[in-house]
Amino acid sequence: MRAVESRHAAHAPAAVPRMTALTALIKRDLRIALRVGGGALIGVLFFLTVVVLMPFAVGPDLALLTRLGPAILWLGALLASLLTLDRVFAADHEDGSLDLIVMGRTPLELACAAKALAHWIAAGLPLIIATPVLGLLLNLDAASTSAVALTLLAGTPALTFTGMIGAALAVTLHRGGLLLAVLVLPLSIPVLIFGVAASQAAISGPLWFGAPFSILCALSLVSFVVGPFAAAASLRQGLD
C-alpha cells in the first residue's frame, strides 16, 4: 500500500503542475502517518505522559503547577515533537521513496518543506489540540490555556522545521535517536525561551504579550527558510 502511494507521489506526470505534486506528497505523508504503523499519535500520548509525570516530580501542589504550567506544556511539546522527528525521512529512506523524491522533478527544497508541513499537521497539530485537556490537569484557567495553545501554534512549526535539518543529517548518516536529539535540542533554545516568555506574558505580565509572540513568529518564519534549504542540502550531499 505504501509503496504504491510513494510511487504516485514521486512519479507525478510531467503535465501535472508542481503544486499538485506537492499536495500529493503532503496527502501521502498524512495518510501514512495516520494509518496503522504511522505512529503520529504516539507523540500525543508521550506528551500526555510527560505532563502527567511532572506532578510526581514536583508534588501535587496546584499553585506551583499553575505557575510552572506553561513551562511544563512547552517542555512536553518540545520533547514530543523531538520524539517523532526521526521518522520524517527515515521511513522514506527505508522503503526507497526518499531516493525518488531526491531525484524527482520537484525542487527538493519544496519537497522537504511539504514533508515538514505534513509532519507538523500529523504530529504537531494534535499536540496543540491536546493542550486544553492537559491545561486542566495543571490547573490552568481558560485564558492561560488558550495563551499556551496559541504560542504552541506559532512556535511548534519552528521546532519541526529546524528539527528537520537534524532528521535529514541523521538519515544520511544512518544514525538516529540520541545523536538527533543532541544536535537539535540546542537549536530549539530560542523557540523555548520565547514560547514560554510569551505564555507567561499573556498570563501574568508584566511584559506586553506582543513582543515575545512576534519574535516567536519570526523564529518560525526564519525556520521556514533555513530548514528546507539545509535539509535539502544535507540530503543531496549525503545520499550519493
Partner: protein, 268 residues
C-alpha cells in the same frame, strides 16, 4: 601561493612543516610577554587580584567564537569549493574550539566565585557560552558517529553553517531571557572605558592566544592528514591481504608506495 595550491596535502604538509616551528616560537614569545604584562598589571580597586583571571578568560571567550567562524569558512570550503583540506581544517578545529570554550567557562566560574559568590550564575554570557560548548560537543559527536570521513565532513559542514546562523539568535534570546528573569543583578566588568593598564596586556594575551590557536590548528590538521593516510594504508593492506587469501596474486607494492603522496588521501 593561493589557497587552491594547498589542495595538495603533500604540498600542505611540507609548507606547514616549515611554518610550524616559527609559529610555535612566536606563540611562546607572545605568551611570555602577555603573561608577564598581566602579572605586573595593577590590581583592580574593586576586584583585587581576581581581575587577572580576565586576561585568560576574555581571549578564550573571543577564540571560542572565532573558532566557530573558522569552522564556518571551512564548511563553505567543503560544500562550495570541495577543497580537500577544508574538512580536515573543520575537523581539527572542533576539539580546539571546544577546549577554548571550556576554558572560558571554567575561568568565568572561577572569577564568579569571589565576585558573585557562586561558581555558576545563569548570567546571559555564561549561559550562551555554555550553549556554544554544547554545540561544539554535538559537532564532535557527529564527527565521531560516522566512519567515512568525507560523509561526516559534509554533514558536519551543514550543521556548522546552521549553527553559525543560529548562534546569534541564541545569543540574542539568552540575553533577552536573562534580562527578563534577573534584572540588573549582573556585575559588569570594565565596560568600554577599560584602563590602558588592563587593555594592553589583554590585547597582548588575545594576540598570543590567536597564535596559539593557529599553531594548534595547523598541528592538528597535520595529525589528521597523517591519521587519514594511516587509515588508507591500513585499508589497502587489509584489501591486499584479503585478495592474497582469495587469489594469491596481484598486489603491486608500487600502489602502496604511491598512496602516501596521493592528493585525495582518505576519501578514496
Amino acid at each position: 601561493m593561493t589557497l587552491i595550491d594547498l589542495a595538495n596535502p603533500t604540498r600542505f604538509m611540507t609548507l606547514s612543516a616549515r611554518v610550524l616551528p616559527w609559529l610555535a616560537a612566536a606563540t611562546a614569545i607572545l605568551l611570555a610577554i602577555g603573561l608577564y604584562q598581566s602579572a605586573v598589571a595593577p590590581d583592580d580597586y574593586q576586584q583585587g587580584a581576581t581581575v587577572k583571571i580576565m586576561f585568560i578568560h576574555v581571549p578564550n571567550a573571543w577564540l571560542s567564537m572565532m573558532v566557530w567562524g573558522v569552522m564556518s569558512l571551512a564548511a563553505l570550503g567543503t560544500l562550495v569549493w570541495r577543497h580537500p583540506l577544508a574538512d580536515v581544517a573543520a575537523k581539527a578545529a572542533a576539539p580546539i574550539g571546544a577546549a577554548f570554550t571550556f576554558l572560558a567557562l571554567v575561568t568565568g566560574s572561577l572569577w564568579g566565585r569571589p565576585m558573585w559568590g557562586t561558581y555558576w550564575e545563569w548570567d546571559a554570557r555564561l549561559t550562551s557560552v555554555l550553549i556554544l560548548f554544547l554545540m561544539y560537543l554535538g559537532l564532535i559527536a557527529l564527527w565521531r558517529a560516522v566512519e567515512d570521513p568525507s560523509r561526516a565532513a559534509r554533514a558536519a559542514a551543514i550543521l556548522t553553517l546552521v549553527g553559525a546562523i543560529n548562534l546569534p539568535i541564541i545569543k540574542f534570546s539568552v540575553d533577552w531571557w536573562n534580562t527578563l528573569h534577573q534584572p540588573a543583578s549582573v556585575l559588569r566588568m570594565g565596560g568600554p572605558t577599560l584602563d590602558r593598564a588592563f587593555l594592553i596586556p589583554l590585547l597582548m594575551m588575545a594576540l598570543a592566544f590567536s597564535f596559539l590557536f593557529l599553531t594548534l590548528h595547523l598541528a592538528a590538521m597535520r595529525n589528521e592528514i597523517l591519521r587519514r593516510r594511516v587509515r588508507t594504508l591500513q585499508m589497502r593492506q587489509a584489501r591486499a591481504s584479503s585478495s592474497e587469501v582469495g587469489s594469491s596474486s596481484e598486489v603491486d607494492s608500487g600502489s602502496r608506495e604511491g598512496s602516501a603522496s596521493r592528493p585525495e588521501f582518505g576519501s578514496a
